[in-house]
Symmetry: C2
Subunit: 358 residues, 2 copies
Amino acid sequence: MSVFFSKRFEKLVPYVPGEQPRGQEYIKLNTNESPFPPSRKVINALNCAETSLLNRYSDPSAKALVDALTGYYGLPTGSVFVSNGSDESLAFIFDAFCDGKRGMVFPDITYGFYPVFAAFFGLKYRTVPLDENYRISVNDYKDISDNVIIANPNAQTGIYLEKSEIERLVSQRNDRLVIIDEAYIDFGGESAISLLPKYDNLIIVQTFSKSRNLAGARIGMAFASPEIINDLNTLRNSFNPYNLDRLAIIAGTEAVKDTEYFKKCTAEIISIRESTVKSLRALGFEILPSRANFIMAKCNRISGKELYLTLKERGILVRHFDDIRISDFVRVTIGGREQMDALVKECAKIIEERKKII
Amino acid sequence: MSVFFSKRFEKLVPYVPGEQPRGQEYIKLNTNESPFPPSRKVINALNCAETSLLNRYSDPSAKALVDALTGYYGLPTGSVFVSNGSDESLAFIFDAFCDGKRGMVFPDITYGFYPVFAAFFGLKYRTVPLDENYRISVNDYKDISDNVIIANPNAQTGIYLEKSEIERLVSQRNDRLVIIDEAYIDFGGESAISLLPKYDNLIIVQTFSKSRNLAGARIGMAFASPEIINDLNTLRNSFNPYNLDRLAIIAGTEAVKDTEYFKKCTAEIISIRESTVKSLRALGFEILPSRANFIMAKCNRISGKELYLTLKERGILVRHFDDIRISDFVRVTIGGREQMDALVKECAKIIEERKKII
């Protein structure tokens, strides 16, 4: 820490992204990326003609991408905000709508970045525990006047909250915002986007990093009333107006247009998830019911931490969280079929070895 | 403004980027982009093999790009920070090193984003007037204990401050940071990077948007002591750790490697600038002495605003600022030779027309 660093950041602990290994080749199932390449339409559009124009600024309003999303979801003009990954959307949302008076509330187990955003901007937050089945109980939120953010399906658990429950949460009170972080919604959940016309206190955040196969292009978005989107653009234009580069805007726009590929990829992930869950359960694993492109798996023969380390030694990278309530689990991204077969095979071996030891 | 927008942003006025016209074709000399395409090495590297990997996250440490810059400038490990455009570097610098106690000071005429960053983060700032020749007088800063940011060459004037003067500014006192925003340094100035080993209170900010022909890739960087860079990374990782996408990292890395093309392009801009200045002066224009890729030009026969509007009508886009001290000028980006010939020709016509009217 330099002597010049503001004292207000002395205790700031940054978010820790999943490992991005260099050198050694892993079966990489730790950061919830898609195992499938981007749409051919994306790859074809990112051609020499476009890269030759990189000396020119990108469109700060990212109109092509905003229009494509507006059309795809059938939203009114002015309802779409785009950002450099959905983390940037989330950051601006925390900053715009919380302050010393109004804080943010979220479940105790969820996306680990939420408390970091609050700390970064010096905002209040508090957590509400998930129930004993790792589920969100909407009734727990009815007396909360702070803003509420829920990941749905929830990060780290993959558990999905029905749209009717989301509506109950949003309609509990209109004096607070409810933000639904739908990073994983396309793997079997139903988006709350259709609720937007009814509720001015709802913001939905999505990303191109999972179901749109574009984690490396860094594109996120938020959907809300034009007034709220306008507030977010005020902040964006006071921080970094050209936040999406030319190629990201093109990639996102083309990805939205290729509905067929999007549906094919997400259906395939769901299918692979279901067969992986079946195989791991057959080996004795407990798996939380997931509607995401990852699963939380635990086995009473080996701790979460040990399983993570053993798999890593053997060339398979999954993720482990130290949070006490989920430290028995490993989080496994749904990769391609061969990758998941390799994972299941390795898990079977590890369990066999443990049986012999005991 | 939504009812949920935090009251602390009620008066926030965002930065206004230069017009990015759609539809009509302009000779675009308003946002200080390079008229030359990116290096062939950049274009060749952004190939199908790379775009096919966009389903994978980018490296959050952007190691390839950081290493390329560290090597190019011969800096110690840990001295380079990279960001989504240099605006993001500047934003993090304002946030990290200023607060309620320590503010930021900058000239009254400079990059218009500085006061916006201060307002966005709720920081104090004040300005020090340029002298009557639009020059920075280093002595004006000697009693200032707040941090100081100077664009060199200065934004909006193009006027360059010698490196010896920069050193005098930095060495005036060691209890404050001096930030040198070198967005335009490669068009005839000498970077203060060589001062870094001597001064722990110096930060240098640069960008790929001007001299590296990559405005559309959104890459900026800061150079400073490893402690300061570490502070900036703490903030980056608390806001948006994957702030550079895969293709931007590749583009930046390849651009740094192509020194020959970089030198050729910047030399060409300098040559075109000098001949444009000569031609416009011959027409009676007053031009501030520029070491940037733009010039400030004024003519006593037509106001800055009128000249901007007349040129726009005739298909040439330049930039006009309402700030009272420079409102007589238009800011003209140095484009390609044909573009500048067209500009000079049009200016000559406009002046002839004015002579007839009077």
